[in-house]
């Protein structure tokens, strides 16, 4: 094992204490720990909005066109006499998807934990550029605000699905939401992408350059590997979405024809000629597919750390885990076509994408088996973070397996754009990543706020959430297998699907209960920030460096010298040690050997 000795620019300058004002400490902070909290709080607020939307459109599906006080109160003119309008249904689905994928599970998840953990776990005083980091957060904030403003546009928010395929998204006359609402959606996303790129570049540079002495790449905790690779995928694929968005803006506002051709709508022929919506689909999914790994990999990284710590065992197959992260990252950039089997692209391309897609199942399977083996003969500490991590493995398996069907071009003909897809991606990326985020919050809350979350409320939160998540998304596979298309405002025009109506009611019940129980978490979270039990220095008896730093807010993370690293982060229950953990900064004893490869 090679030990790269990284020189460290910060090492010998004493931690300086600028006078921090309220504004520099809490608002325009350049401290990575504060920025992490800002991401977390903003992401949480967006999450509440996203979940509320899903509950509303689920109610419409279960009780179609029934008046509902909730709609009347929240949707105003979009729910005349409390009956949800068809346009706003599509808008809710669209904004729900956008918020969940980008604002909660990209910015909220990566933004929070990459920021918090990268400097603390690699032993750095802060990010490579605190200033860019601050800009990155504030761009995210502005994009969130723009997205929320778009909800109040006269003609309605964007409603073309989170995939915003043109021409629907390009033509204001095609749909109310494709006017000002779509403009704001695009502006918001463009700002979001800028934020994400700044963040990612910072993460990459920090991991490469600022590791403390002894922290070679092969001693990095898997969390850092995951955040690092995620940032690389982001830098490669987000610019492509940005160009797609820019070209779409040109088509919309300046009359170009990148994605449009031969259109007759509302009684007139439009001038567009020569463009193709299929081109947009390629550009969108070139980001869109890697995006699911941008969402998922950080969650898997977090879980790797938490499962090892709470099993009191090394993660099984560290090298295989790193290799699968790299393999997934590489493959994720060449599978996007599996979203387009029936888009009209050449069927031969379909064959190629089927092949690459099923390949990606292999590293995913390796990861799942490694998690399970890590539990084997462990001494499992069932902390709430551990429960969410085990929950993640469970939903990751259930959701991942159906990918075998969707990735197979022949089978996709049948289930494409049905509820089968909705079930698949919610389990494998939505719920899994959400669990990863919850796990991270329960685990690192003491590190962030110096206090503990209430564990009993954590248990309550987990078990109800776990049951409701399966209750919502498992039966959806079967509804999808009955051919029920997604993005339908109501199914009542298809008697063919009447026998799925009761299942839809049950699903909505689970969604409502699951949604409401997130209040338990919010209560626990906000109350514990102020009144939680004071945390010990290293409450979970973990090996990684973040637990050696003082909890008290301090710029530079460690008073005095940054700890040096002498071992990997998974020496749990190592023979020859009395304690069942050996932190990374503990030197090897005389004659002690590394017991892993």
């Amino acid at each position: 094992m090679s030990a790269t000795a990284d020189t460290h620019a910060h090492d010998d300058h004493d931690v300086h204490h600028h006078k921090e004002t309220f504004v520099t400490k809490y608002i325009f902070s350049q401290d990575h720990k504060m920025i992490a909290k800002q991401y977390l709080i903003t992401g949480t607020i967006m999450g509440v909005i996203g979940v509320l939307m899903s509950i509303m459109f689920r109610m419409q599906i279960a009780w179609p066109e029934q008046p509902n006080v909730l709609f009347e109160a929240l949707l105003g003119k979009w729910a005349p006499e409390g009956v949800m309008d068809a346009d706003i249904y599509l808008a809710l689905v669209t904004i729900h998807g956008t918020i969940m994928v980008f604002f909660v599970l990209t910015a909220g998840l990566s933004g929070t934990f990459s920021n918090l953990l990268i400097p603390l776990q690699i032993g750095a005083r802060d990010m490579a550029s605190g200033f860019l980091n601050m800009i990155s957060y504030w761009l995210f904030f502005v994009s969130s605000v723009v997205m929320i403003i778009s909800l109040f546009v006269e003609a309605g928010p964007a409603a073309a699905g989170w995939t915003i395929y043109p021409p629907l998204s390009a033509l204001p006359m095609a749909q109310g939401g494709s006017g000002m609402g779509m403009t704001l959606w695009l502006v918001s996303m463009a700002i979001f992408i800028a934020s994400s790129l700044l963040g990612s570049l910072n993460y990459i540079v920090t991991v490469i350059n600022l590791r403390t002495k002894g922290m070679s790449m092969t001693r990095l905790p898997l969390t850092i590997w995951a955040f690092f690779v995620t940032a690389v995928i982001g830098v490669i694929s987000f610019p492509v979405l940005l160009s797609a968005a820019l070209l779409l803006i040109m088509d919309r506002s300046f009359g170009t024809s990148f994605f449009l051709s031969d259109i007759f709508i509302q009684g007139e022929v439009l001038h567009y000629q020569g463009g193709s919506p299929v081109l947009f689909e390629h550009l969108f999914w070139f980001l869109g597919h890697p995006e699911v790994y941008i969402v998922l990999l950080p969650a898997l990284g977090i879980t790797s750390e938490i499962i090892a710590t709470n099993s009191r065992k090394p993660i099984f197959g560290y090298r295989a885990m790193v290799a699968s992260i790299l393999a997934i990252a590489f493959l994720s950039t060449i599978v996007w076509g599996h979203h387009m089997f029936i888009s009209g692209m050449n069927p031969f391309l379909g064959s190629v994408f089927t092949f690459t897609t099923l390949l990606i199942a292999i590293p995913s399977a390796v990861k799942a088996f490694n998690y399970i083996t890590t539990l084997w003969k462990g001494n499992l500490q069932m902390n709430p973070a551990m429960l969410f991590s085990i929950g993640l493995v469970s939903t990751f398996i259930t959701g991942g397996l159906t990918g075998i069907i969707l990735g197979d071009s022949a089978l996709d003909i049948n289930v494409h754009d049905t509820y089968f897809v909705v079930a698949h991606f919610h389990l494998v990326m939505g719920i899994s990543a959400l669990y990863g985020m919850f796990a991270g919050i329960y685990h690192w809350f003491p590190r962030m706020f110096g206090r503990m979350l209430n564990k009993n409320l954590g248990y309550l939160h987990f078990w109800v959430t776990a049951i409701c998540a399966y209750g919502v998304f498992f039966p959806m596979h079967f509804i999808g297998m009955a051919g029920l298309p997604r993005r339908y405002y109501t199914n009542s025009n298809f008697p063919l699907f009447d026998d799925t109506a009761n299942a839809n009611v049950v699903i909505t019940m689970f969604a409502i209960v699951g949604g409401i129980f997130q209040l338990v978490f919010l209560y626990n979270f906000f109350v514990s920030i102020f009144y939680g039990k004071k945390a010990e220095q290293n409450p979970w008896k973990s090996n990684t460096l973040e637990w050696t730093a003082p909890v008290k807010h301090m710029h530079g993370n460690w008073p005095g010298e940054i700890p040096h690293v002498y071992r990997w982060s998974y020496d749990y229950s190592k023979p020859g040690h009395d304690e069942d953990f050996v932190p990374q900064n503990v030197p090897m004893k005389d004659g002690e050997e590394e017991l892993h490869h």
Partner: protein, 353 residues
């Protein structure tokens, strides 16, 4: 009524939750816990893991019992359908086996190895043989599925023009479908949206001067003769739509600016399908459910009694009425089809003079 019901449920759950929060809060007072799991927590959650495993199996079984007729896996009405259903069934069986085993291992280990104070875990960092085993097994299984899948896909997508398929255009617009037949010559006349002339009722933009267009027939209900290959040419005039014909295991997007295609051979007539016992059960079940919602359905102006029909649905979000963009498909014998099409107006006769 439902609103009230929802409201009461929400209220009820909220109150229940409030109560629980209180209880958990009180339980904490005085207990010297520092919010890290104790042996008691480990035991409790270990048992919950087993409970949860049972829940996963139970919801699987319940889904099969209540939603298990899986119309997308049986009674396919096209020639390639059964082959595809076969692939689907094989994939599903593999998935269910893997799902059952891995979920068992995960939750059982979580229960079995729940923490106890003083016990030490086994330091077990890696094992290349194991790693190799669970790389190779998925490789083999997936290779089988990929090869089977690719053969099926090629079969479906490569249309054999030598079989002389009947050419039918599916034309999509917000929010309805039209179908156009090539007529006696089985060739569609040229068309482009720039030729649309609403005043003359040339809604598909067909070139009136094209000799091939003279015998074209435009209809709003799709009729297909059983046993004859059909090749659909899809067009859209405004936004993306998708022509989804689930009973025939067929779907293809309709893309403005280009013509996409999909072909299949219908094998079962509508009349025969209505006699199929599975379908009869399904229809009876649906009608029983509809009877319960009688008032609502009649208010919406629908027929209370449902009868089986093949359908073409729009399956790509296309705007406000996406949820109601459908066309009935009738599969019938060649004679019935010939009689039907003879009654339809040809394109020149359908124009306003």
């Amino acid at each position: 009524m439902t609103t009230l019901l929802i409201f009461i449920i929400v209220l009820f759950v909220a109150v229940a939750m409030w109560q629980m929060v209180k209880i958990f809060d009180l339980a904490q007072v005085g207990a010297s816990n520092n919010q890290v799991a104790t042996d008691k927590d480990n035991t409790f959650n270990g048992y919950m893991m087993i409970g949860f495993l049972i829940f996963i199996y139970a919801i699987t079984i319940a889904s099969f019992v209540y939603l298990g007729d899986l119309p997308l896996m049986s009674n396919a009405a096209s020639e390639h359908g059964p082959e595809l259903d076969n692939l689907m069934i094989i994939s599903m069986v593999i998935i269910f086996i893997v799902q059952t085993i891995t979920q068992f291992l995960l939750h059982y280990f979580a229960y079995k190895y729940k923490g106890e104070k003083g016990r030490k875990a086994l330091f077990y960092a890696d094992n290349n043989t194991l790693e190799a085993i669970w790389t190779v097994i998925p490789v083999i299984v997936l290779a089988g599925l990929i090869i089977y899948g690719l053969f099926t896909w090629n079969d479906i997508m490569n249309i054999d023009e030598s079989e002389d398929p009947m050419i039918v255009e599916l034309y999509a617009q917000q929010f309805n479908w039209k179908a156009r037949y090539g007529g006696d010559d089985n060739v569609l006349g040229k068309a482009n949206v720039r030729l649309i002339d609403l005043d003359r009722a040339n809604i598909l933009g067909i070139d009136e001067d094209d000799p091939n267009a003279q015998d074209d027939v435009i209809v709003t209900e799709l009729h297909l003769p059983v046993g004859r290959p059909v090749l659909f040419k899809m067009r859209s005039q405004d936004v993306l739509h998708s022509a989804y014909m689930p009973h025939f295991r067929a779907q293809m997007n309709c893309v403005p600016g280009m013509v996409t295609q999909f072909g299949f051979t219908p094998t079962i007539t509508t009349a025969e399908m209505r006699q199929n016992p599975d379908i009869q059960d399904k229809v009876a079940n649906i009608n029983a459910l509809r009877l319960e919602r009688k008032a609502e359905i009649e208010e919406a102006g629908q027929d209370l009694n449902y009868q089986f029909d093949y359908l073409l649905l729009c399956n790509k979000i296309c705007g406000k009425s996406h949820y109601n963009m459908q066309m009935k498909i009738v599969v019938e014998t060649q004679e019935e089809f010939d009689a039907w099409i003879a009654e339809q107006k040809t394109f020149p006769n359908s124009l306003n003079k």
